[in-house]
Subunit: 361 residues, 2 copies
């Protein structure tokens, strides 16, 4: 059991927001950025909430992120746009660009926005949730620092490049898909290391490109494996999905792709060359009413959700979940009882507090 | 080694086309349908070429497919449409609906078409290849008869629900992604059975929902596992991708989804109920020029392709491939030397020949 302390989400939002303001981020954008981080913490995706706040702090402190960006559309058609994020916080540029996609979808049926010159944008799943509020199907993708090997590669070439998409139900909660394209999250490697445990085959390779069950072997210059892990189990598919994300978010927008995607944390290696501007995102939205009566769509989603919940369970399980179930349950529980933070994260926040003067606890 | 005979692709196209015409399919549509099948055979995706012709024959013979469909747009916005395929051949309805997506992308930057009331449409990768010819990024998805269990399910609930997408290069060949969402293709189970071999863990479960290494265990009421195979290796991700495809192709269009998707071959079980019309497809297209100069995009794709080819190889491999490499190599080889057909497929074609009077060999 890792020791942790629990905080009401509102307090973490207030702290994050004040930290962003400390660096000159305008108040409404600071609040927005804090809200994106809180969505991760509430939904149980601990790696993408305030656990990252110290990295944002470092980048702002060093002047590597523009606290007052003016994102702009550099090219567009009625249903598409390319956005230059002006090297702003991804937590600010992401919602701005997502809004462009949502408005286009409301106007002409769909909206697709590729973004360059941005930074880490929080959880991919935040953005499709915004689309749901307007009866749109929302998509989001991003790239990030290299961590994943292509199938048959011996080195890191791709980020964890997530894909998120959400579909609204009527009486049932929405289906919310938010998946990264390696077999497993990097956080699980770190947890295994902390606990002194081995990792399963199929998660990672070491620096020589050999399969490893030692978390340290992956950390010391190894790489995560793509979803599917090896050729026999479809590792070429996870690799292809990661590459698809990279092209849509970065090649299409003029951002850096693959191994040249710039790092988010200070300890990460700086890429050998630059092939574009910042990191990239991709947002999409489809107007449900452009295809079918939204009420009929939602009734069918309810039917589908209930049908899949009624699947005969595999032995030893309670049966399939619906994508988004675990995050929604975490959200309900943490909204009531607060967000547990492990002590190293608490220490990070205290350090930010000391260095900015923003009170923490 | 399985015995096979080799035929020039043109001869198979001629035979397929004449078979379709025999059932009243108009000449240009028969040629188109034959072309889609040939694309599979040439690209080495043997399961989706003339190996399926007898199933099309059966469905047409029994009057279950409309040989002269009038596909129509039943709802649209400038960038989206819903198409009713009038129960035609998917090989005819698919290209028709894909064309709607391509035209919308040329007009307003992107085009997205969800299709109901259709049938098996061949390889998913055929459609994005058409988009490439017009400097568009093409997408295609479809559902199909249930064969795959959700993670933690003990029964078939989803089709193999493929996702295809293609990106053009300049001097390098295009990146062509075409992946089904289970860990492995059903054809590999059949091959293992024919050879009397075991199958690897992570491919399938048996009728009780237990992991099985016996191909017959999967065939007799078992199911394929989603990409990722188990919870530890990301099986929830493959399951979510399969569900995503089902919603986009079927819930959005008013087709049948999940376990209610109608079968393509006669030996397959008929679903318990109908929740829509036929099977569903989803086509998308993005205008590259709507985001970035196409020449710049293609140069970056070339750079990306070369960068990934130069990845340090994993021990015992020649290094990563680029998605689409194997299919392109097969296409080059088979265009020169012909398409090898295993004897049971040759027998199927002879049977069609006897029953239709279309000469084969």
């Amino acid at each position: 059991m890792v020791e942790s302390r629990t905080y009401p989400s509102e307090r973490l939002v207030e702290f994050s927001s004040r930290m962003f303001r400390h660096f000159g981020v305008p108040a409404h954008e600071a609040a927005l950025a804090a809200d994106v981080l809180a969505a991760a913490d509430l939904r149980g995706i601990d790696s993408h909430g305030v656990a990252r706040l110290h990295s944002y702090f470092d980048m702002l402190e060093l002047g590597r992120i523009n606290p007052r960006p003016k994102p702009r559309i550099v090219r567009e058609t009625p249903s598409t746009a390319t956005v230059d994020g002006d090297n702003g916080l991804g937590l600010v540029v992401g919602p701005w660009a997502n809004e462009v996609a949502l408005r286009k979808a409301q106007a002409v049926g769909s909206g697709w926005v590729s973004v360059c010159n941005s930074n880490h944008y929080g959880i991919a799943g935040y953005y499709p949730l915004k689309a749901l509020e307007r009866d749109l199907i929302g998509w989001s993708m991003t790239n990030s620092t290299k961590l994943v090997a292509p199938l048959w590669g011996a080195e890191r070439m791709l980020g964890t490049n997530p894909i998120a998409i959400a579909f609204p139900g009527l009486e049932e909660p929405p289906i919310v898909i938010d998946l990264a394209t390696p077999a497993v999250a990097y956080g699980k490697i770190e947890i295994a290391k902390r606990r002194g445990e081995r990792i399963p085959r199929g998660w990672a390779i070491d620096a020589r490109g050999e399969p490893t069950e030692d978390p340290q072997g992956m950390i010391d210059g190894g790489a995560l494996l793509p979803l599917g892990s090896d050729r026999e189990h479809g590792g070429h598919k996870g690799y292809a999905l990661g590459m698809m994300v990279d092209v849509l978010v970065a090649v299409l927008s003029g951002a850096n792709w693959g191994p040249f995607t710039p790092p988010f944390a200070l300890r990460q290696e700086v890429p050998a060359r630059s092939v574009g501007k910042g990191i990239g995102h991709f947002f999409g939205a489809l107007q449900i009413a452009g295809f079918i009566e939204p009420l009929e769509f939602k009734r069918q989603i309810d039917d589908l959700v209930r049908t899949f919940r009624a699947t005969r369970p595999a032995p030893g399980t309670a049966g399939p979940l619906i994508p988004g179930d675990p995050e929604r349950e975490a959200h309900a529980e943490r909204s009531r009882n607060g967000v547990p933070l492990v002590l190293p994260v608490v220490e990070d926040l205290r350090d930010i507090s000391r260095r900015t003067g923003v009170p923490f606890d």
